[in-house]
C-alpha cells in the first residue's frame, strides 16, 4: 500500500469514470424523484460500479485467458470502445441512457456502462499490472467514493454551472477521453 500510487491511480480512474457524462444522465434520471430516493440511487449506482470494477479486475484476466483472448486484443478493444464513447460525447450525442422507468434498474444502467465503462475496465486491469492489485483496489474505492460525491451533490453542481456549463465540460472531457483511448490502443500495439 502506497498512498502516492493509490492517489495517482485513483485520479486516472476518476477521469475515466467520467463524471461529466454520468452526472447529466443521473440528473435526467432522478429529476422527478424525491431527494431521499435520489441519494439512495447515487449510493446504489456507485456501489454497483465499484464492485463490478473490482470483480472484473480479479476475474477478468483469467477469464480472458480461458477463452483465448490476449491482453493486447483486450486493450485495443477497450481503447476502441472508449474512443467511440468519447466521440459521441464530443458530438453531444447520448448513449446508454436509461429508457427504464424503474429507478433501481436505471441506477444499475448508470453504474455499468456509464461509470464503469469499457475505459474503466481496461484501465483497472492496466493499473493493476503497474501499481499492484491492492493499490488499485484502494484506488477504485477512492474513485467510486469521489463519483458518489459527484452524484450526491449533482443537483447543486448543476444549479451552479448550469446546463451549458455541463455541456461544455462534457465535450472537453470527451476530447481528453479520446486521447486516453488512443493511448490504450498505442500501448497495446507498441507505438
Amino acid at each position: 500500500m502506497d498512498i502516492e500510487l493509490i492517489t495517482r491511480a485513483a485520479v486516472v480512474l476518476f477521469v475515466i469514470m467520467d463524471p461529466f457524462a454520468s452526472m447529466p444522465a443521473f440528473i435526467v434520471l432522478t429529476k422527478k424523484v424525491p431527494r431521499r430516493r435520489r441519494h439512495v440511487s447515487a449510493s446504489k449506482a456507485t456501489t454497483v460500479a465499484g464492485i463490478s470494477l473490482i470483480a472484473f479486475m480479479f476475474a477478468g484476466p483469467p477469464f480472458l485467458e480461458l477463452i483465448g483472448v490476449t491482453m493486447q486484443s483486450f486493450m485495443v478493444a477497450g481503447g476502441l470502445m472508449l474512443l467511440l464513447i468519447s466521440i459521441l460525447m464530443v458530438l453531444g450525442m447520448n448513449y446508454g441512457q436509461a429508457k427504464e422507468s424503474k429507478i433501481d434498474v436505471a441506477a444499475v444502467l448508470i453504474a455499468v456502462p456509464l461509470i464503469t465503462g469499457p475505459g474503466a475496465l481496461t484501465a483497472a486491469i492496466i493499473l493493476a499490472s503497474i501499481y499492484g492489485v491492492w493499490n488499485t483496489v484502494m484506488a477504485v474505492v477512492l474513485a467510486s467514493s469521489a463519483m458518489w460525491l459527484v452524484l450526491h451533490y449533482s443537483e447543486g453542481v448543476y444549479n451552479k454551472i448550469g446546463h451549458s456549463g455541463i455541456e461544455v465540460s462534457s465535450r472537453i472531457s470527451g476530447l481528453v477521453l479520446a486521447a486516453i483511448a488512443i493511448e490504450f490502443v498505442r500501448a497495446a500495439v507498441g507505438m
Binding site: I67, S73, G78, L80, L84, I85, V105, V108, V112
Partner: protein, 190 residues
C-alpha cells in the same frame, strides 16, 4: 478413421471454444423465459450447423470462384463482431434496432458459432479428412455447445436482473476483444 475423427473434433474445439458460446449466449437471453431460450439455443445451433455444412461442401470452390482469401474473411468477420460488441457494451439500441430481433441467427449462429474461424476450418478439414468425417465432428461439437447454452440459462437466473445487465455490458467489451483478435489473425495471415 477414429484418429481422423478425433483430430477433427479437437480442431473444432480449438477454434470454437465450447465454453465461449454459452457465455455469449447469456448476453442475449435477458428478459426471455426458459422455453424461448431453449428454442433460441437450438435455432442458433441448427443455423450454424447448416452454414458449416454449406462451407464443408461448397466453401472451397466458392472462395476460389470469388477470389476471397480466408484472411480477408477473418478481417471482415472481426469487423462485424466489433460493431456488435460495441452496441452490446454501450447499450446502444436506438436507431438501428432490431432488424436483428433474432439474435439466434446473427450474431450467435454466425459469426459467433459459424464464424470465419469455424467456416475456414471446415473448408480446411474437408480437404484433409473428407467431408463426411468433418460433418460428423462438427455435429458432435454443436450438440455439446447447445447443451452448454441451455444450461447457461439457469446460471443467468441465479445472477438476477442487475447481474445480467452488468454481465451483458461487460460481455460486449469482451466480444470486441474477441473481434480484434480475429482481425489481428487475419492481418498476420494476409
Amino acid at each position: 478413421m477414429m484418429q481422423e475423427m478425433l483430430f477433427a473434433i479437437v480442431s473444432y474445439i480449438a477454434v470454437l471454444n465450447p465454453l465461449t458460446i454459452p457465455i455469449y449466449f447469456m448476453a442475449f437471453t435477458e428478459g426471455k423465459n426458459e422455453k424461448e431460450c431453449r428454442r433460441m439455443a437450438i435455432r442458433a445451433a441448427s443455423i450454424a450447423g447448416m452454414l458449416a455444412i454449406g462451407a464443408i461442401l461448397f466453401g472451397d470452390p466458392l472462395m476460389k470462384l470469388l477470389g476471397v482469401r480466408i484472411s480477408s474473411f477473418q478481417i471482415a468477420g472481426g469487423l462485424v463482431l466489433c460493431v456488435f460488441g460495441m452496441r452490446k457494451g454501450l447499450g446502444i439500441s436506438r436507431g438501428f434496432v432490431d432488424s436483428t430481433k433474432d439474435p439466434a441467427s446473427i450474431p450467435l449462429a454466425s459469426p459467433l458459432m459459424a464464424g470465419p474461424g469455424t467456416l475456414s476450418l471446415s473448408i480446411l478439414l474437408a480437404n484433409q479428412v473428407g467431408a463426411i468425417i468433418t460433418i460428423i465432428a462438427m455435429l458432435i461439437m454443436l450438440v455439446l455447445i447447445t447443451i452448454g447454452m441451455i444450461y447457461s440459462e439457469s446460471v443467468s437466473r441465479l445472477m438476477g436482473r442487475t447481474g445480467m445487465i452488468i454481465t451483458s455490458h461487460i460481455m460486449g467489451l469482451i466480444l470486441v476483444a474477441f473481434a480484434v483478435q480475429f482481425i489481428i489473425t487475419g492481418l498476420t495471415n494476409a
